[in-house]
């Protein structure tokens, strides 16, 4: 069966420090991969999505970036965190057409201090 792993579960980082959140999917090939941010009162905001290795679409021009070095690995990064980067980050995958259901990870709670 397919599973998605996202880590770490919680992270506290100072302003200006780098960020690396990792997400891996098991049990499926060539998944569509997504990074969403869940901020209080703002719902789920799509940050990046990828339909294949090295293919990244950015939805929100910020100091965040994403990479997909392997088929089932999706990484969210930042060189210098801002206070406004605090939030709950969710990784998700789907297969087939873009309208296929998304399967979400447990999320990472990021607090920038």
């Amino acid at each position: 069966s397919q599973t998605i792993h996202q880590w770490p579960a919680t992270l506290v980082q100072p302003v200006g420090s780098p960020l690396s959140l990792e997400c891996t999917v098991e049990g499926t090939s060539n998944p569509n991969l997504y990074w969403y941010r869940q901020a209080a009162g703002r719902g789920l905001q799509l940050l990046f999505y990828s339909v294949g290795i090295g293919q990244i679409s950015s939805e929100v021009p910020q100091n965040l970036s994403a990479s997909r070095p392997q088929d089932r690995q999706f990484i969210l990064s930042s060189k210098k965190l801002l206070l406004s980067d605090s939030g709950f980050y969710l990784c998700a995958w789907s297969v087939g057409t873009g309208s296929s259901p998304l399967h979400f990870g447990n999320g990472t709670r990021l607090t920038v201090t």
Partner: protein, 109 residues
């Protein structure tokens, strides 16, 4: 542009009362609409999709293209329905799933 609006941040009802969580969308083409749910301490998961025309856990949702709405309904709410509900839109021209801000449903005994 595609947009999903959930006007209510919180909906509070008593057990056995009818529930309607509102969702309106903006999209120029033929949309695919979804409802996702997140129960306490669980992952966000798909509840239902309009193309399936199914009832899940007693919930139904009908796509009304005239009113550009996809409201989620249940005739008799249960305490276990308490959760965060997100309406989502997939527009083929954009090839991505866009979520609303979410509505927290609280069902009281």
């Amino acid at each position: 542009a595609q947009r999903v609006t959930q006007p209510e941040k919180l909906l509070s009802v008593f057990k056995g009362a009818p529930v309607e969580l509102k969702c309106n969308y903006s999209y120029s083409g033929s949309p695919e609409l979804f409802w996702y749910v997140q129960y306490s301490r669980q992952r966000l998961q798909l509840l239902l999709r309009h193309i399936s025309r199914e009832s899940i856990k007693g919930f139904t949702a009908d796509l009304n293209k005239g009113e550009t709405s996809f409201h989620l309904k249940k005739p008799f709410a249960q305490e276990e329905d308490s959760a965060m509900y997100y309406c989502a839109l997939f527009g083929r021209g954009y090839n991505k799933l866009i979520f609303g801000a979410g509505t927290r449903l609280a069902v009281h005994p």
